[in-house]
Symmetry: C2
Subunit: 442 residues, 2 copies
């Protein structure tokens, strides 16, 4: 290939707009085509999650783009999980050590910031362009725009068009393309705990969880004092969304299962009826590269939301690609194969971790043994900060550790801790454990 | 739903034409739409495997349709595997006991017989109709026929359009549809060992295998005295189809790796250059039913060919569906959910078994310990014919045992045999094993 100059990106969501910004700053001509209307004019599409947990991996990419502080100013720090038992008892578990926290951020606010920054830097955005066909031989995409056909052809074509990617649809027609989409039984619905005259009705610096074993409610704080709640509940079956038909049923369900939250949700039943019930899926595929086209972000590896890493992983894709372009002097024919080889294992790892964390959040977070295990691991980390880093911290706060390494180390730690947890009278005697001996086994 | 009367089937391959015959005999109006031209006029499409191994499950369905004897007359019995070592040494391993064998059958001949029988029974076939869109709400499909659009609407719509099913494409647009397509590293190419003036150049009543650990050649006899050979070889990499560019390279490869076969393949290099190299994939999906539409055969569960069960599983789908229609008095709203619940586990089981058998065929069949293990299992089966049935026999010769049961029993047998195989000096002393004790552990 001659030196790439012109890059076409399909999808102007979080990953697409960040990627465009990275690439325009490298000197490329970057055109981005997006199915939706320009959110800066049309308002935001409410079919998607309202806030997200931004953590170190995402922040590292924003930092490189000079946007970290701008974004941080709009977030709410969440320093730990606040678990709500059925009787209203609260228990609190920090996410990391002092100064380690995750950040509740508005999806639309973050997207707006990235769009504006990319446009200022020279990226050309084309909204209301629905991708209809991609020609991977010609590095060309065809869009429908207000009834007209529009073609876009570049040296490189990048698909950042999400879990239901149209670009990936073209990949799926090529030979030997491995693909899977796997839904979990649970769906989700977003609800609100409004602010009390601008102030938070619950602890603001926490991610709230109401773990109920086979399902859960969570709540993330927003800067305005309100919380966005998400109910994760089976889509079908005896206890499921399919059984909640009437406002009375919804009200009774929340009153019984989440009484303290119920008391803070005056518009619960209206919101429940109005807001969509959405599905949750994992997408795995390979290869991510065909000729001069590649998939990034959810288009390549949509994951479950339970580790708060979907956006962070997509931002990390952008940061890693940019770094490889540095290392290979913008030789895309060298970069793309290395990119997919490097990132595929990490994407598979975080997909697995996100699934595992779903089980942990809904089942274990409510379990005293689980809390003890976390306490022991936190103590190990305190004694040996570089030698025993809890899995959550490796994934969330150690942006230079690969997801695949975090997964592998986490598995070893789990086996060691499984044995430790079999110690007799552990709850009263755990401080007497041979902590150095435990760490030495890792 | 009112009583179903009119059934639309998409795909007139082996499963589609058998299914049409079953259903027309139940009194339905059956219309079948097929992308390809009528093979009875246009000749056969050579992009697909030429012969297949027909065994008890497939024969059971043909028997119900009164076609078993007609088909049997066109087959060649294969009573065991004939393994060809690199030095030309042959070793033979029967598939089952006396009277148990699998049958090499021509795909096109079998398809023709089914098409003819279905048409005679009143099925309406529409060839050269390419399915473009399926409306699952309306039980309606749209086809392109010589540049014209043709619509078909039925009470029930059945997709039997194979591994790359267009009907399944419509399922994939529905919410919470789980789907995976997984390719193996190996591709395949068909070749020929011609007859010697109408007679076989190798043992005719066997399936021949040249196992070479990371790849293999196999050959199935045809009634005319020739063999259809299939090379299973990696698609890419240092030892792969991608390295066989010239006739000289192909000739040298066969001469070195399959010397005895090479001597019987005068047209090898011409065929190798002319014939396509095809990919191998497993398709898993669920649900198979949406509204009044369902997927059957490869459209629902394409599997690898290494257990010789792809067609047999598809025919069993037809037989099971027909049986459920009997049991439920043709109440499709009751039948379809039961069908998918029953068959999904069996389809998953045979997919797994087919994958496992690939490993067995290419690696283990050449291994003396493997042959001893098979010998011991055959002896167990002889002593306790109803209590220890080797896995291959359960799958191939026990048409009333579900695939899922065969898989579960096979796993138990494997664990027991793994232990037996650790017995000291087993090769000389295996006849002294406590066979009753072994069977009692199952």
């Amino acid at each position: 290939m001659h030196k790439a100059q012109h890059i076409v990106i399909v999808g102007a969501g979080l990953v697409g707009s960040m990627l465009a910004l990275y690439l325009v700053r490298r000197g490329y001509r970057v055109q981005v085509y997006e199915r939706r209307a320009d959110m800066r004019k049309a308002g935001y599409d409410h079919g998607r999650s309202i806030n997200l947990a931004l953590s170190n991996r995402g922040l590292a990419a924003l930092h490189e783009l000079g946007l970290e502080e701008t974004i941080r100013a709009t977030t709410v720090a969440m320093k730990g999980r606040m678990m709500h038992a059925l009787d209203g008892t609260l228990s609190y578990l920090p996410y990391g050590t002092e100064g380690q926290y995750i950040n509740s951020v508005s999806r639309s606010g973050l997207n707006l910031t990235l769009l504006d920054a990319a446009e200022r830097a020279g990226v050309e955005f084309h909204f209301e362009h629905r991708c209809q066909r991609v020609n991977l031989e010609q590095t060309e995409a065809q869009f429908e725009h207000h009834g007209q056909l529009v073609m876009a052809q570049g040296d490189i074509l990048l698909g950042t068009d999400g879990a239901f990617s149209a670009v990936r649809g073209a990949f799926q027609l090529t030979d030997r393309f491995n693909y899977s989409q796997t839904f979990i039984d649970h769906a989700y619905k977003e609800l609100t705990i409004p602010a009390d005259q601008g102030t938070f009705r619950m602890e603001s610096h926490a991610l709230h969880i109401w773990p109920r074993e086979s399902y859960m409610l969570i709540a993330l704080p927003n800067p305005g004092g309100d919380f966005t709640c998400t109910l994760f509940y089976p889509a079908e079956g005896p206890q499921s969304f399919a059984q909640l038909h009437t406002k009375e049923q919804v009200d009774a369900f929340f009153r019984k299962q989440f009484p303290d939250a119920h008391a803070l949700m005056p518009a619960l039943t209206d919101e429940f009826m109005k807001n969509p019930t959405s599905s949750l899926l994992t997408v795995r595929c390979f290869p991510w590269v065909r000729n001069h086209a590649a998939l990034l972000g959810d288009a390549a590896h949509a994951i479950l939301p339970f580790f708060g890493q979907g956006m962070n992983a997509g931002f990390e894709d952008c940061r890693v690609l940019n770094q490889l372009l540095d290392e290979h002097h913008d030789e895309w024919d060298a970069v793309l194969p290395v990119f997919q080889q490097l990132r595929k294992v990490d994407a598979d790892a975080i997909a697995q971790l996100a699934y595992d964390n779903f089980i942990e959040m809904r089942d274990l977070v409510a379990d005293p043994e689980f809390l003890l295990r976390k306490k022991i691991e936190a103590h190990l980390h305190k004694l040996f900060p570089d030698r025993w880093i809890p899995l959550y911290s490796m994934v969330t706060f150690h942006e230079h550790m690969r997801y695949s390494e975090a997964l592998a180390t986490g598995r070893k730690q789990q086996a060691i801790m499984d044995e430790v947890m079999r110690t007799k009278d552990l709850d009263t005697r755990w401080t007497a454990l041979d902590f150095a001996g435990i760490v030495a086994r890792l």
